[in-house]
Amino acid sequence: MSRHAEQPVTSRPVRRAGRIAAVLCLMLPAAAAAQGVDYGALEALFDEPATTSATGKPQRASDVPVDMEIITAEQIRRSGAHDIPAVLARYTSLDVHQYNAHDFSVGVRGFTTPQVPRMLVLVNGRQVYLDHYAYTSWDSVPVQLSEIRQIEVVKGPNSALFGFNAASGVINIITFDAARDRMSTGILRAGTGRYREASGMTSAPIGDGGGIRVSAGLRGEDAWRRGFTDFEVQELDARRGPTRAQAAAEGVFRLAPGLRGSVDASYSRAIGGDMLDYGQFWREDKRIWSLRGRMLADTAFGFVEAQVYHNALKATYAATLHPTDSALTVADLSSTVKLSAAHTVRPLLQLRQASMSVIPGTEIRYRVLGLGGMWDWKLAEPLELTTSLRYDHLWLGAKGYDDPAYPYGDRDYDRSFGEPSWNIGLVWRATPWDTVRLSGGRGISLPSLSDYGWRDSYPAFGYQDTGTPTLAPTVVESAEAGYTRRVDSIDGRLGLSAFAQRYRGFSSGLSTVTFAPPLVPLDTYTPYNLGTAHIVGLEASAEGRTAGGLSLGAKYRLSAVSSELAPSSLDPKRASPRHLVSVRAGWANGPLELDLFGRYSTLVRGYRVNGVDEATLVEVKDYASLAVRAGYRLTETLTVALEGENMLHGRQQQGIGAQAARRIYLSLRADF
């Protein structure tokens, strides 16, 4: 304990002390009905969220050796947003690009192209990021906002913990715990743009350490109206009204004292006009399901976690002949052990297998073996050093690719390679109010299965596509320094961080012709590595609240980009704004809640495909947007809210996709 801990108990609010004593009862194994991380109890105890997304070890949000933001359930509820990316846009300085009413891309600090591949997204540690196209389809994430306890955002590479694809950041969505949280919520929402939504969740602890959680949601709306090309509307059905249906369930079981097991499953179907990475809307119909089993065992020194899960996808695109089938199976084993008062370690082992088939009889696949470990060393009470190191080895393979019309065959896919990743972070709690953090890392983003092995052919339009088996992964190297100061008088904090990152090996996607007749029968699009780019920037934040129920927050991000990239119509250089500002103000008094969220973004550029293959550089100038929520609690269980987004203009160009439409919603929420 630091020197500041010598203050006597009489100086602190006694009620808070009583609550701490009560919560401490939960930390005694005799009282703990289940094991693992009790997020609710730990947050109540430490007065801040707990997380494992930084290092794998349970930590307080203020102690993590990475740049992290955590959005709480209360903030999600007050956001008035209906989508996870919209929540992120209102509380963080992440790049959140919206292309259609339902279609988002979320990135960190720059280079956020459509379907950005370098942000790994998980739900309770299960990857919902899609390996087949290396992105996250946000409308397919099988989670209702009302079942989320917190959204954890790691900015910067974290492949040493999560493996491939956590190259520039990680978003881990933590739901309420079926074994600990008893709650049910139902939401009905309707709005302009023919928006209609019904969703709900229930979480019910059962017996000693068991429980179930079930959630489901249905939604439909109109696509945004303006900004589609004629080709996209007529040939690619891109302006179809997006719809989605989702369901998920989890059962938790206490198998023995100190041993907990769980099984969860999910299904989602999402249909809508999505912006593809090379700048064209296609109607996609994605059906995704998952099944997972987990076990967690407490030991005298720590805990052992194991999970096996399988994700499967079937996607149908507007103008392709065959559906795309993809599957991912992951097995994880880790052990988090506190060896002594100063040392905690976490060895881990991961096996992954991913496959995709785009034409019957063909398959592209890879297997990955990942080995790594984390070592947390408390050098002195206010000084903590965390080091993570991991090595992943990939074996690539394919069958059915021996077609003379294409430049690559099965043998070209018979290859393997390995990549190390690492993170190091030093946290110095100079005083109970001031924290300084220095960190660095190396993250790896794999080429997508599509980058490796997509195949299609459109003789009528004179072109074909194929993947590139020799494509190199994208490597992100990062260094950053951060400072945070707690401001007790406003229950708030100030933050400032500076970062420098180098990206090597962006994929061009299927954006550019690389082989032409007579070498191949048709113009052939293949991915290639674009080169190297750098970002330097800073982030500043301030937040707090007053006794009158007013809460305020502001975030600013500067990302200055330089690059030496090969020509391509997938140019990430100006995909993200140089300056980004996110501000919010909320006020609550009795049953009434009012919240405003503003966002300002400077210029972005990106290519849009006009017809079959003609790409045009689109420039989107600075814009500001405003979202609002006014909520009124009718009874203890019922809340009615009026919500609005894009309030400053009826239609506004905010990105390279369709024009953002102003929409107003009325929602009724029951919490019981």
């Binding site: 304990m1 009620r15 701490i20 005694l28 609710g40 349970p58």
Partner: protein, 129 residues
């Protein structure tokens, strides 16, 4: 879940602090399925009565801490104080500071003597010695 707010000298400041804390903690909401019940008791009463799961020693003197450590030895009772020195001395299990930032210090020696163990995740978030 019974939480005793213990004091040594009935005429000293410890009793006032314990009673203040008991009064302020009345009606605390259920925490994680547990309903905490606070009561102020003297160490003498603890010696002769039923031992609760948690004992918070208010305004403790080292002699009080030594007495309490003897009372809870091997009985699985968590002892809490605001004075880190009593934990560093291996007398009580845990020192808690709530302002300006919650800090928790645990003595492994006292923990073992009292027969208390903590959830692994919690252990990783506190300071131990």
């Amino acid at each position: 879940m019974q939480i005793a707010l213990a004091y040594g000298d009935a005429a000293g400041p410890g009793r006032i602090a314990a009673e203040q804390l008991a009064e302020a903690s009345e009606g605390l909401a259920r925490v994680g399925g547990l309903s905490p019940q606070f009561r102020a008791v003297s160490l003498e009463q603890l010696r002769s009565g039923v031992m609760p799961a948690v004992v918070v020693l208010a305004e403790a003197l080292p002699s009080d801490a030594g007495l309490l450590a003897g009372l809870v030895r091997g009985r699985g009772v968590l002892t809490i104080t605001s004075d880190p020195a009593l934990v560093r001395a291996g007398l009580l299990v845990m020192a808690v500071r709530s302002e300006p930032r919650v800090e928790i210090l645990v003595s492994r020696v006292a923990e073992q003597a009292a027969g208390v163990t903590f959830a692994p995740a919690f252990r990783m978030m506190i300071q131990e010695q």
